[in-house]
């Protein structure tokens, strides 16, 4: 595993282009585009203000930079550096901006969710969509980019509108049986739309593309409901994480629950491997420091090293006592992600913040649990294989695969607190983001695997 040098960054704004060739990052009001392989700067654009949001167009030709404070969006072209485009939302303000899947339209949401403005880069046309709902996930595009579903609120009722993205024509418009719709999400095959209610009510509704209600599911009443929802990449399963600390898996045939995954703090099953991150004092680790070869001018040694130990069951995980009389209590399943092959599901229970559960979807049972020393900030699956990268806001990045776990110290001067990470689509590298820096982490060249194996042999 190799690391690039550390680059400056602000606002955790760092994104790989969809084609995987470029990497865009922001430093205050500057947008830097680098080549992924050489990491040399390809383009450098200067915006009018501090950038708050960036997004690549689907064809990797344009980058959108949003400056919400000024109500501005600036678009840059990678092919024609001199080309520019500036969209000003004026006094209406701006709270969100995103590309349409064709990469030629920009959807701007004005303040107070008054409307969504659709700006076309091809023609002068501007379209408006009224009554967008102010919610967590109000717009969603199908994977093929044909359709957009939009949550709306009119006359105190929730509606969903389905638009054809090619000409922004309304295809379907239907009301949903929700108290307060919070999110919508297309299934990866683009034929089913999952709609869920706010946390006050446990309700998932599934609509077909043509607006028919396929099924409604509710697990319980009178208690805080859904916290997170995720489709499996195969569209076979819908995982629903809720405030009761369970994940329920719905199937795509009957839309009924197949199983529910509890997240108990005590693990008794000896079949489950529990990896526990353990701090190791540097004295003990000195023998192992010969590998990798020390970099010239290396920074100070990390104060401590960490490694994974296999905890013997029964294991009790550290739980957080939630404050129940405050809004957004830290309980329930807040993070959910399927592996790209749909075989695994990674979850985090918010009142056991330092643990990541990995579930075997084929056998519908718990597969492994990783307990970190500090709360898990983010995790993301390798787009190519079942491999999970985890960061906890410390200077290490953690990887899990069915074969095992490892923790890697990010080299560099001072502490590189990894707050977020994102994979390159090839799965060969990932960007590790800290508050004001980022670096790339290259995984898995043949040689690296070999040395790692030798390293493993040396340890045992």
């Amino acid at each position: 595993m190799n690391f690039s040098e550390v680059f400056k960054l602000s606002g955790l704004l760092c994104k790989f282009s969809p084609d995987g060739k470029y990497l865009a990052s922001c430093v205050q009001y500057r947008l830097v585009v680098r080549d992924v392989n050489t990491l040399q700067i390809v383009q450098l654009y200067t915006c009018l203000d501090q950038i708050q949001h960036i997004e690549w167009s689907a064809d990797s030709l344009f980058i959108l930079c949003a400056m919400y404070k000024r109500g501005l969006v600036q678009v840059w072209s990678l092919e024609q550096p001199e080309w520019h485009c500036k969209i000003d939302e004026g006094s209406a303000g701006l709270v969100a901006s995103c590309w349409s899947p064709d990469g030629r339209h920009i959807l701007n949401t004005t303040e107070f969710h008054l409307r969504i403005t659709v700006w076309s880069l091809c023609t002068k046309s501007v379209s408006y969509i009224k009554y967008p709902k102010a919610c967590l996930q109000g717009t969603t595009f199908t994977r093929d980019g044909r359709y957009m579903a939009l949550a709306e609120r009119r006359d105190c009722k929730d509606y969903v509108s389905i638009f054809v993205c090619s000409d922004w024509q309304l295809l379907r418009h239907f009301d949903t049986d929700t108290q307060d719709l919070t999110g919508i999400e297309w299934a990866p095959n683009g034929c089913v739309l999952a709609v869920w209610d706010s946390c006050l009510e446990y309700k998932v509704l599934l609509y077909s593309l043509d607006g028919r209600l396929l099924s409604a599911y509710s697990a319980y009443e009178w208690s805080l409901g859904i916290k997170s929802v995720a489709w499996s990449p195969s569209s076979q399963f819908l995982a629903v994480g809720s405030y009761d600390g369970k994940v329920r898996i719905l199937n795509h045939v009957t839309w009924k629950m197949i199983t529910e995954f509890e997240h108990p703090a005590a693990i008794n099953n000896p079949k489950i491997v529990v990896y526990k991150e353990a701090e190791k004092s540097p004295q003990l680790g000195l023998g192992c420091l010969s590998f990798p070869p020390p970099r010239a001018g290396a920074g100070p040694l990390p104060t401590s090293e960490s490694k994974y130990e296999i905890a013997s069951v029964p294991v009790s995980l550290q739980t957080l006592k939630p404050v129940t009389d405050r809004a957004n209590p830290k309980i329930g399943i807040g993070m959910l992600a399927f592996s790209p092959d749909s075989y695994f599901l990674a979850t985090r229970n918010d009142n056991v913040p330092s643990a990541v559960w990995v579930w075997d979807i084929q056998k519908l049972r718990l597969f492994a649990v990783l307990e970190q020393l500090s709360p898990v900030r983010a995790f993301q699956w390798d787009p190519q294989q079942p491999r999970l990268a985890i960061c906890t806001g410390g200077s290490r990045v953690y990887l899990w695969s069915p074969a095992g776990c490892l923790s890697v110290q990010v080299p560099g001067e001072g502490d590189f607190a990894v707050l977020s990470l994102c994979w390159h689509l090839s799965g060969d590298s990932m960007a590790l983001l800290s508050k004001d820096h980022f670096c790339l982490c290259f995984l898995e060249t043949e040689a690296a695997v070999g040395t790692a194996c030798r390293q493993l042999g040396g340890h045992t």
Binding site: F112, C122, D210, Y343, P402, G404, Q409
Partner: protein
């Protein structure tokens, strides 16, 4: 009467009191009865016996004394002390013999009495101790009774308390339920109120929004604008089209097309899954039939008619099976037939397995009794011993031969020739004898050895037969596990049942990924090696490792929906042994069992697949 008592023995009278108390218990003999009377009468007299005695007879009153004694003795049934008078006038003479006899009798009586007294005393003692014992028992029991009574009272009290508590708890429960109900009502009312409020607020909010919208939008905000250098072409190169009814219709069409495609895709998948399941079913049926057919003859002979008919059904089904087209029929027409036949066969199989089970248990029972079977270890030890002996004998023979040869070669020598005369003949004779003896021994050994090897072979055969039987039994049991209950099949449905082929596919994909070098570090900006604090090796201990391995392999058998039929076909054609294994593994319910078998083959392929160290 007191005066009469002087007769009694002083020793006796001292203890007469105690004896008299127990008179009722002593056994009555005529003599003892008599003595008792004496004893009884002796009660009042106690002290001064001697003085009294001494006063009884003096020089002066010998005559009176004798007459008195005579009188007394006669009254007690003793013969008179006097001689029979010959004449009335003659004075009666004292008969000394009679006196002595009387004395003797009295002494004997006395001794008897003493003995009786002793007995009575010991009995008395015994009874006394018995009495004590009983008394203590009685008191103990009394105590026990008391304590149990107390306990009972305590328990009753506790019971009462518990009942009380129970009642309280019931009350509490009821209260709690009421509370819950109340709270639920409150929640519901709050929810409605909240919703109401929310609606009101939202209306207000909407009004405000509308207002704002009008204000912001109607102002003709100059600022709202797009400043663009030049318009870019559409990604698809086409021109934007006007929105017309036509486009609407086209969009509609397209949507339905997409939906239709999805449904078709799903149907295809389900069909494939169905086909695969049918194939498995067919295979199972075939195997069942082939399994059952050897048993056909036997059960027919002994089992009653009902199973006989079933078996004939099996034969019919076997006939039907040959018509492959049956499987292509839609399920509805075949379903009943199929399920019936399967059910029948299943029943037969089950009964057969049960029978086998019984047999096995019987065999197990018998096995312990069977003593003529030599255990393998014994057998081996024996053969080893024999071989050693043979070896020794051979060595001995060899040395003797050498000696013989030496003797034969040395015969030229003078001394030896001399010796030969005296010893050789004799020795030769002896050697010959020994030689023949050895030969015989050798022969014996050989024979024994042969018999042992034969026994070994027999044993091996027996073992093999047993192994076979066990294997078949296991197989049956294994089949037993693969029940076709609907619940199971429903679960399995989610992952399509056939998976081997798709897995093969995945593997190839993986390996391809591996071959492709992930990242080439070209003329690069400074890239630094990490200081890997790599303690990675939380990779589980070997066993765990294997487990995860096998899990991985299992897992790759999920049929991802994205696999198109074209992907699968070639693999099905190129059926390798692994493929076959997977086809077994795709049986619902039996996966666990099979994977363990498969994991071995898969570990090889995983060595390369393994990306994370």
């Amino acid at each position: 009467m007191g005066d009469w008592m002087t007769v009694t023995d002083p020793g006796l009278s001292s203890e007469s009191k105690t004896i008299s108390q127990h008179t009722s218990e002593t056994k009555m003999s005529p003599s003892s009865l008599y003595s008792q009377q004496v004893l009884c009468s002796s009660i009042p007299l106690s002290k001064n016996v001697h003085s009294f005695f001494s006063a009884f007879c003096t020089e002066d009153n010998i005559e009176q004394s004798i007459s008195y004694l005579d009188q007394e003795l006669t009254t007690f049934g003793f013969p008179s002390l006097y001689e029979e008078s010959k004449g009335k006038e003659t004075k009666r003479e004292l008969n000394i013999v009679a006196v002595l006899n009387c004395m003797n009798e009295l002494l004997v009586l006395q001794r008897k009495n003493l003995l009786a007294q002793e007995n009575v005393e010991t009995q008395n003692l015994k009874l006394g101790s018995d009495m004590d014992h009983l008394q203590s028992c009685y008191s103990k029991l009394k105590e026990q009774l008391e304590t149990s009574r107390r306990e009972m009272i305590g328990l009753q009290e506790r019971d009462r308390q518990l009942q009380c508590k129970n009642r309280n708890l019931h009350q509490l429960l009821k209260n709690e339920k009421d509370e819950v109900q109340k709270l639920q009502n409150i929640i519901a009312s709050r929810a409605t109120q909240y919703n109401h409020d929310m609606k009101r607020k939202e209306r207000e909010y909407n009004k405000l929004k509308e207002r704002l919208h009008q204000l912001v939008m109607n102002k003709k905000d100059k600022k709202i604008a797009m400043d663009i250098l030049n318009y870019v072409g559409r990604a698809d190169g086409k021109r934007g089209s006007w929105r017309t009814g036509k486009t609407e219709a086209r969009n509609e069409d397209e949507m339905y097309k997409i939906l239709l495609n999805d449904y078709e895709y799903r149907q295809k998948q389900i069909l494939m899954e169905n086909a695969e399941l049918k194939k498995v079913l067919q295979q199972m049926k075939k195997e069942m039939i082939s399994l059952l057919s050897p048993q056909k003859k036997k059960p027919r002979e002994r089992v009653d008619d009902s199973t006989g008919t079933v078996i004939s059904d099996v034969e019919e089904d076997a006939g039907e099976l040959s018509r492959e087209s049956m499987w292509d029929l839609s399920c509805e027409t075949v379903r009943e037939q199929l399920t019936n036949s399967i059910r029948k066969q299943w029943r037969i199989l089950k009964s057969h397995v049960e029978k086998l089970d019984n047999q096995v248990s019987k065999v197990h029972l018998e096995g312990f009794n069977d003593e003529d079977v030599i255990s393998r270890q014994d057998h081996e030890q024996e053969t080893e011993k024999l071989e050693l002996e043979i070896q020794q004998c051979k060595e001995m023979i060899k040395t003797q031969q050498q000696l013989l040869q030496q003797l034969a070669t040395a015969c030229d020598d003078d001394t030896t020739s001399l010796l030969r005369d005296c010893y050789l003949l004799e020795e030769k004779e002896r050697l010959k004898e020994e030689w023949s003896l050895f030969k015989e021994q050798k022969k014996n050994f050989e024979r024994e050895r042969r018999s042992f090897t034969e026994a070994a072979i027999r044993l091996g055969l027996e073992r093999k037969a047993f192994e076979e039987e066990r294997a078949s039994w296991l197989k049956q049991q294994f089949l037993n596990m693969t029940t076709f209950d609907h619940q199971n099949s429903e679960n399995v449905k989610l992952f399509s049942a056939f998976s081997g082929s798709s897995d093969q596919d995945n593997l190839t994909v993986h390996s391809r990924q591996l071959q492709k070098k992930p990242h080439s570090m070209s003329n690069g900006s400074p890239v630094c090696m990490s200081k890997l604090t790599k303690s990675l090796p939380a990779s589980p201990s070997t066993s765990d490792f294997c487990q995860t391995r096998s899990c991985v392999s299992e897992h790759s058998s999920i049929n991802v929906l994205n696999i198109t039929p074209e992907d699968i076909k070639p693999n099905q054609v190129g059926g390798e042994c692994t493929n076959q294994k997977w086809s077994v593994a795709s049986r619902p319910g039996s996966q666990e069992g099979c994977y363990s078998g498969c994991s071995l083959t898969y570990t090889n392929s995983h060595v390369e697949k393994d990306d994370l160290p």
